[in-house]
Symmetry: D2
């Protein structure tokens, strides 16, 4: 694994934490919160696994690759949910989630 790929993945995960937490906060303030319930749930899942992946990669965990595989999967699911909603915070979050999923997948094999 090149050191650059490593740094890139950490930075994508950090961007994803920020986007998901912002989307979580913004969804809870929407008028139709119910429609956003699944988005709220996945934003949280995604922010959590990204934080865990950042710790694993930056600590050189022997499990970093497995954790990145799971992270890719959860980012993908979060992106799929977010892109269903027209809110700017959802669309931006979806874009960042898909980018993060792609980079995590490269780390995963």
């Amino acid at each position: 694994m090149s050191h650059e790929a490593y740094q890139e993945c950490i930075d994508e995960c950090l961007a994803c934490i920020k986007a998901c937490n912002h989307c979580f906060d913004a969804c809870l303030k929407e008028t139709d919160v119910q429609m956003m319930a699944e988005c709220i749930r996945l934003d949280l899942e995604c922010a959590d696994i990204c934080a865990y992946a950042v710790d694993a990669m930056s600590r050189n965990s022997p499990f970093a690759s497995h954790i990145c595989r799971l992270c890719a999967e959860i980012c993908e699911a979060c992106g799929d949910e977010c892109k269903k909603h027209d809110h700017t915070h959802c669309q931006q979050c979806a874009e960042i989630c898909f980018r993060c999923a792609e980079v995590c997948r490269k780390m995963a094999h």
Copy 2:
């Protein structure tokens, strides 16, 4: 700090993590999610600080006492919000939050 007080506080925090996460999940499934938005937010805050407090106490962190003070405050706020709602998961969560707040406060000085 007696070892017993320590263990008691860890166990209250662990119970509080379970209660808050369960309440979070149940709130997101309620028909009126909007009314539960603040509860969802505080359930998450409270589960997070309790997990952090458990780590700090069980690792003998030099900051355990400061972290417990913050934990008591957040548990109190979460309990105050939860007790406004009639759902069983909210009422049970409120009760556990208040108990956890009380035990954390004893650790905090």
Copy 3:
């Protein structure tokens, strides 16, 4: 998945967090810290994934089963390292890790 199996796995993970964090703290206080370096590292990994698994299960995460599979693997690795060392904290931690791994594995399919 029966509700009981679920609760059992959450409780094993909570016990594992306590054991791993205690072992982490105790290892850092041993006279030969260098010999404990891998144990310190894995205690932390294991406490982290267990905390993440507890959150996932108690929030009814759609990824709970995948997370438990990863948790089983990391608990197993931590147990394997801990059991190499004669310190009581390591032996106890190994035992709890193996038990947690076993219960997590049942959740994972």
Copy 4:
């Protein structure tokens, strides 16, 4: 609180997570691990509180200011320990910790 100050603090905390986790990993690989025990412990504490502060700020937590106060204090302590050691990873970590502490302190009142 200006939005810029907010973003700056999130970014300093993210940089601090990376630096502390890298220092943690590097300390565990040093030949004299025992001398690094306190540094290992504080690196972990500091990475944990920074991750928690990032979540709190990016979710607009009502407790963000209190969490930043605690974060400033722990960053300061971690920086104080790191700067005692000549290793490059420790010196760099100290520098980032002090900068993060300063920015967190501004958020805290």
